[in-house]
């Protein structure tokens, strides 16, 4: 028997999913996260899941892991003290931060700048200069650098060192040399250089990205090595640990410890991967994902079962140039607080969240302000009278009291206020869904909508009504979908270079030769992790724009396509996408900014699993009768147990489908069908 384990470490819970690679049989577990050292929670979870399933830990050969360790280091400001070496004259690059003040006219009045991740007192300038063409204008002053680094080292403050020189994206030689010198002085400190981490134009973004890499590096490295040691100890020395990157690929533990800036969106990427896993097997390759958690909702557009990857990652105020699945986040989640400003009497929902503490009013943990969750309780979508799979008790009176405060402030009745809160939250998610679809030139009606995360299945049907994207899909285990994603993705690495070449000046031969060189570099990383070349899948990317534009589009292609069409492949695809996005195209002036080779380990199949309890009628799956409020009316509804629902059963709305950590609402006029992979497919009644 061979098992693989998916582990998703979130802010509140650590989710685990154990898959038998031979039978497809799965086991899940949920244990509290342990933020002080996440590996403890992971090991607790492994103990629990093995105990409950009777699986011997030694049979687990691969552990695939999505983690917020890097993200949390940024969010909580607990990263390393970072020292920074810039080109002399550019020490203030982060301090000036492109001169941007957020907010509208007068926004500067209240703008409070966050402390720099590499403080100015730990920043030094190196005397060197590279031209924009990559020629050395001034050689690195090695003696001066050595002296300055020695002084910096003597402060005893630097826990991670960053080197970022002007124009190093085009020639990193001076950075490399500076790094060698630094390594002689900072013998036990990790050093990140910008030409390795992100060889892309724009000094502020490149410096910030490399600094963030340094900032999270010690914490991630120690976490990964602790976890690997503990796994080896429990499961034997052959256990292969991989970590999910922001772009949806898996990286070996070794690779992720070196460039942790690529893991900041590990969590959302896991959700997207999990959604793709279930939807593609059900025949839905074009989907909109909606992952609604406690404080925010992540949405993404997936075409041909492939997530779009954006070359930017945003975590709170930190914005870095690292590839991540193109997920848009809005500040509307189950814990978002509703309020009414006194003067305008408008109903506002979020972005403030009640979080886990004090939490929504209904959980009686001290929260009194009305949240989206409380509105769901008041409306009956989250039943208070029936204990579903979840272990938390729900107090409807507390929710009513909280929502009543909003109703009074607006001068409307309780139910109207509760529906208002839900509608505003839905509208906010709808806005994000439009951003990834309509505003990118896609019609949501050509997509299915996937709702997951703790709160997603509560709102998914309503979002289907707003977007007209059908069916609405609720995958199995919507609350642990990230762990599914972790367990079902592949190891991947990439090599890239800044190209800045006009397509018109480029021959097919030159482009092919340059890409082949990158291919070798990308494959090397997989070879280092003992994945033989025969198991590599290679693909390519190029970023293009019309010379002069700030915007760029990434074109994906294969070697075969390149051989057939050459450079024209890139310009043709770019024109087509540009036209879809902006309704016009130009005939020439294509500039190729970056080229990239991606090496991916081939996927290993997992067998299909058994769905529900075969032979059980719908009536037998029923838990209770209840009622909920929708569009101004009360409806009698039935509550079903999802674990019993087998393939082919149809649940007509108004209904609620409960499971361990999630609740699905089926609205009046809609029907949910269980498909062969276990998804609930919600469609308008009478449609096909």
């Amino acid at each position: 028997m061979s098992y693989r384990l998916g582990v998703d470490v979130g802010g509140t819970f650590t989710d685990l999913l154990l898959i038998n690679e031979g039978t497809g049989e799965t086991h899940t577990a949920k244990v509290p996260s342990t933020p002080e050292d996440s590996s403890i929670g992971v090991l607790n979870g492994i103990a629990r899941i093995c105990d409950e399933s009777g699986v011997n830990p030694a049979e687990i050969s691969r552990v695939m892991h999505g983690t917020t360790v890097a993200t949390n280091a940024v969010l909580t400001g607990r990263g390393a003290k970072v020292g920074l070496v810039t080109t002399a004259g550019y020490e203030d690059t982060l301090q000036v931060a492109r001169s941007f003040c957020p907010g509208g006219l007068g926004g500067w009045v209240s703008f409070v700048k966050k402390p720099l991740l590499a403080p100015l007192e730990l920043t030094i300038g190196a005397h060197e200069r590279m031209s924009a063409d990559g020629e050395v204008v001034r050689a690195l002053d090695e003696d001066q650098l050595r002296a300055d680094l020695t002084t910096l080292h003597a402060t005893g403050e630097v826990e991670a060192l960053t080197i970022c020189f002007i124009n190093a994206y085009i020639n990193g030689a001076n950075e490399q040399r500076a790094s060698e010198i630094a390594a002689e002085i900072f013998t036990d400190t990790p050093i990140s250089i910008s030409s390795d981490v992100v060889p892309e134009m724009q000094e502020y973004e490149r410096t910030e990205t490399t600094v963030v890499n340094s900032y999270v590096r010690p914490e991630v490295a120690s976490y990964v090595s602790n976890l690997q040691a503990a796994l080896d100890d429990k499961m034997g020395p052959d256990t292969q640990l991989s970590i999910l990157r922001s772009d949806g690929g898996l990286a070996s533990a070794r690779a992720s410890a070196e460039s942790p800036v690529n893991m900041l969106m590990s969590g959302p990427a896991g959700g997207v991967s999990g959604a793709i896993y279930f939807c593609s097997r059900a025949g839905y390759d074009n989907i909109l994902t909606c992952d609604m958690g406690g404080t925010s909702t992540d949405v993404a557009l997936i075409q041909n079962s492939r997530a779009r990857v954006r070359r930017e990652t945003i975590v709170a105020d930190v914005r870095v140039r690292a590839p991540s699945v193109d997920v848009r986040t809005v500040g509307a989640g189950g814990g978002s607080i509703a309020f009414v400003p006194e003067l305008t009497k408008a109903l506002r929902v979020g972005p403030e969240s009640a979080g886990a503490v004090p939490g929504p009013a209904c959980y009686m943990k001290g929260g009194v302000q009305p949240t989206v969750c409380d509105a769901n309780v008041v409306l009956g979508y989250l039943p208070s009278d029936v204990q579903l799979g979840g272990k938390m008790e729900i107090n409807r009176e507390a929710s009513v009291a909280a929502v009543q405060s909003v109703a009074d402030a607006m001068g409307i009745d309780l139910m109207a206020a509760a529906e208002g809160i839900i509608k505003i939250a839905n509208e906010s998610m709808f806005g994000a869904l439009r951003l990834v679809s309509v505003e990118q030139g896609y019609d949501p009606r050509d997509f299915a909508l996937v709702g997951f995360g703790g709160a997603g299945p509560l709102h998914a049907n309503a979002l289907g009504v707003l977007t007209d994207a059908w069916p609405v899909i609720i995958p199995p285990g919507p609350g642990v979908l990230c762990a599914y994603g972790d367990a079902t993705t592949q190891v991947q690495d990439e090599a890239a270079r800044t190209y800045l070449t006009m397509a018109g000046d480029l021959t097919d031969e030159q482009l092919t030769a340059d890409l082949m060189e990158l291919q070798v570099r990308a494959g090397d990383a997989l070879l280092k992790d003992n994945i033989p070349a025969s198991e590599h899948e290679i693909s390519y990317q190029a970023d293009l724009r019309y010379a002069g534009q700030a915007f760029q589009i990434t074109i994906d292609f294969t070697e075969a396509e390149l051989k057939e069409k050459g450079v024209a492949l890139l310009t043709g695809q770019f024109d087509a996408e540009h036209e879809q996005l902006f309704t016009f195209k130009l005939d020439d002036g294509h500039e190729i900014l970056m080229i990239r080779a991606l090496a991916k380990a081939k996927a290993k199949a997992i067998a299909e699993r058994q769905i529900g309890q075969t032979g059980m009628s719908l009536e037998e799956c029923k838990i209770a009768s209840s009622r909920f409020y929708y569009e101004g009316d009360w409806y009698d509804s039935t509550i079903y147990d999802r674990n019993k629902l087998s393939t082919g059963l149809e649940v007509s709305g108004p209904a609620i489908v409960g499971e361990m950590d999630s609740t699905t609402v089926v609205l009046p006029g809609y029907v949910a069908t269980v498909d062969r992979v276990g998804n609930l497919l919600i469609n308008p009644q009478g449609s096909n």
Binding site: V96, S99, E121, L343, T344, K345, L435, F551
Partner: protein, 627 residues
């Protein structure tokens, strides 16, 4: 004389009741549509000014032309009054002439695109956007000639004109316009992008009308305007005193030897109404530094400065205009007579914000008064033929905006080298170096340039441009003579300077406003912007914060003494020496109760000018010209 909208569907839009939640939903959707306008523009525009710096402003307005979402307020009302034509579905209007739209835009390089939004033959709303074009023809590259004395020298004037008629591009007209500018390809793309952004907003409005109903959308826009009216009524009652309050500030010179020019404003309240009267402002300038200020635009400045206090999430709009009365005397710097030149209006535009900030803040200085900020948008132009090897003598034209010190504020220190304009960012130096014959050798904040205070003013920036081929430069800056003032005991910030170091090592100080300076390969220009004023008593600042600023090279060891802080050789604070110095300095300064510190009176400043700035003092302005 006014515009006439031709509709094929004559059913009037009806005012109906809309429930509050629906209003909130539509409010959100319109906010998103506005943000989408920006996104479309940034991605498709081509000039660095728009795509990197974000020098552009979107708007969606209701049927009457009142801005429902946007930034700088609606110019549609004044435009409709002045435009004596018929407008129908598919028309798209373009203009850039302040004199033809009651200063809806304030200089010719800002091109406005205006789209009437129709649904089922009925006119339901407007979308509009203006963007700063890289060039508009005229005397100098970049089209902001300092020496212009009439608007005819500032390039092509486009009266309100249909760029599209019933959906058809008037290609001849477009070519005629583009034929008159130095950067036709950039302008063509940027204009294309403005049109695409407005069309996107139009599409979103029509979708909203389909989803909620035409009457609901129509009525909701009114409700959103009413929300602002209510909020601003409260704000005016709270912040504007019945007793008149006045403030005056200056722009230093006009680039032709005269200055400073006074901007004076008196503010008071009569009942519910706030009045801003600019009587006492100096007559219009002989050169292009006039700022033709639209009264409604000033109302918007006032509103957006204050509304955040009550509901930061409100979609800010025009709804409160009736509550504000703005009086600007004809023939002044802020309302010059045609055909005065207008292109260099950025300094007076910026200074308006210092004036407004002072007027609003002085009633409750501890809570609301900021020091003088980076109230300008300094420009650098560099143009010529790229003579470097392999560059084929191609024409290039760079327009850079400078940034400086945000002032000390009640909330804390001012950020260093930042922008006071919403959405503006610097252009990455690596981008400039790869597309222009320049190397930016230093890009750093200027230690001690922020005014000392309990809350330090932000430092200005020093940018060292090394020219890699011969060309012409033009500079537009201010606050080289008058100081960025401090408040509540805070010191003034350091003024701006420009120094040109020739390849042979010789140096010259350049005026703040100058054009046509020939530079040679290897010359270096140091473009130094000014620091923000300080806020509060510098001797009350925690010495530990001063030590930190010194460690960060934002304040020098010598500069720490302005805070009465003495640094030891080991880079810690010498506590004993600090106490002694602070006591001495406090005794020496005497009365410290003045709210504002202007760095001396105007005549003193003028007298010290040549010695301190190496530039001759400007003479008192007089004006002879069209009335």
């Amino acid at each position: 004389m006014s515009a006439r909208l031709l509709e094929t569907n004559h059913d009037p839009l009806k005012r109906i009741d809309v429930d509050g939640v629906t209003v909130d939903i539509i409010e959100n959707a319109l906010r998103n549509a506005r943000e989408e306008m920006d996104a479309v523009l940034f991605r498709t525009a081509m000039s660095p000014g728009i795509r990197e710096q974000g020098d552009c402003f979107p708007m969606i307005a209701n049927k009457e032309g009142k801005m429902v979402v946007g930034q700088f307020g609606s110019f549609i009302g004044p435009f409709l009054e002045a435009y004596d034509e018929e407008i129908e579905e598919g028309d798209i209007i373009l203009t850039n002439d302040p004199y033809m739209c009651n200063a809806a835009v304030s200089h010719l390089p800002d091109w406005v695109v205006l789209v009437p939004i129709f649904k089922d033959g009925r006119h339901i709303a407007w979308s509009a956007m203006f963007g700063h074009m890289s060039d508009n023809g005229g005397m100098v590259p970049g089209s902001i000639p300092i020496q212009a004395t009439t608007i005819f020298q500032e390039g092509i004037r486009i009266p309100p004109t249909k760029l599209y008629k019933k959906g058809v591009l008037q290609a001849d007209l477009l070519e005629l316009i583009l034929h008159n500018v130095r950067t036709p390809q950039w302008n063509r793309f940027d204009l294309n992008a403005l049109v695409a952004a407005c069309n996107t907003a139009a599409k979103r409005c029509v979708e909203l009308a389909i989803r909620f109903g035409d009457d609901v959308l129509f009525s909701t826009m009114d409700i959103m305007l009413q929300r602002n009216y209510e909020a601003m009524k409260h704000i005016i009652g709270m912040f504007i005193p019945e007793e008149p309050r006045e403030f005056e500030d200056y722009i230093c010179d006009d680039g032709m030897g005269m200055g400073p020019y006074k901007i004076k404003c008196t503010m008071w309240r009569e009942g519910e109404k706030a009045i801003f009267d600019f009587a006492g402002t100096d007559p219009q300038a002989q050169s292009s530094v006039n700022f033709f200020l639209n009264e409604d635009m000033f109302k918007m400045f006032f509103g957006s400065f204050t509304i955040n206090v009550v509901d930061p999430q409100i979609v800010f709009n025009d709804g409160f205009y009736d509550l504000v009365d703005v009086r600007i005397p004809q023939g002044t710097l802020l309302k010059p007579n045609y055909p005065a030149a207008l292109s260099g209006r950025t300094h007076a535009l910026g200074r308006i914000f210092d004036v407004l900030g002072a007027l609003l803040g002085m009633g409750a200085p501890e809570m609301m008064l900021n020091a003088a900020g980076f109230s300008d948008s300094p420009h650098l132009f560099f143009s010529g033929y790229d003579s470097r090897e392999g560059k084929g003598n191609e024409w290039f034209q760079l327009f850079q905006i400078g940034f400086g010190g945000v002032p000390g504020r009640p909330v804390g220190d001012g950020p260093d080298g930042h922008s006071l304009w919403p959405g503006f960012t610097n252009v990455p130096n690596e981008f400039i170096e790869s597309y222009f014959p320049l190397r930016i050798e230093r890009y750093e904040t200027i230690p001690d340039s922020g005014g000392a205070g309990l809350h330090r003013g932000g430092n200005g920036l020093s940018v060292a441009y090394r020219f890699l081929c011969d060309g012409d430069i033009g500079i537009h800056d201010d606050r080289w003579l008058t100081y960025p003032w401090g408040v509540l005991g805070g010191e003034t910030g350091l003024r701006s300077t420009k120094k040109l170091v020739r390849a042979d090592g010789s140096e010259e100080s350049l005026p703040a406003k100058v054009e046509g300076i020939k530079v040679k390969t290897g010359d270096v220009l140091y473009f130094n912007t000014w620091g923000g004023g300080g806020w509060g008593d510098p001797f009350a600042r925690d010495p530990e914060l001063v030590r930190q600023d010194v460690a960060r090279r934002l304040v020098s060891v010598e500069g720490a003494k302005r805070y009465g802080v003495v640094m030891s050789a080991d880079k810690t604070v010498d506590q004993a020496a600090t106490e002694v110095l602070r006591a001495q300095l406090i005794a020496a300064r005497g009365d410290n109760s003045a709210l504002f510190n202007f760095g001396g009176d105007l005549e003193d400043i003028r007298g010290r000018c040549e010695a301190e700035t190496h530039l001759p003092a400007p003479v008192k302005p007089t004006f002879v010209g069209a009335k």
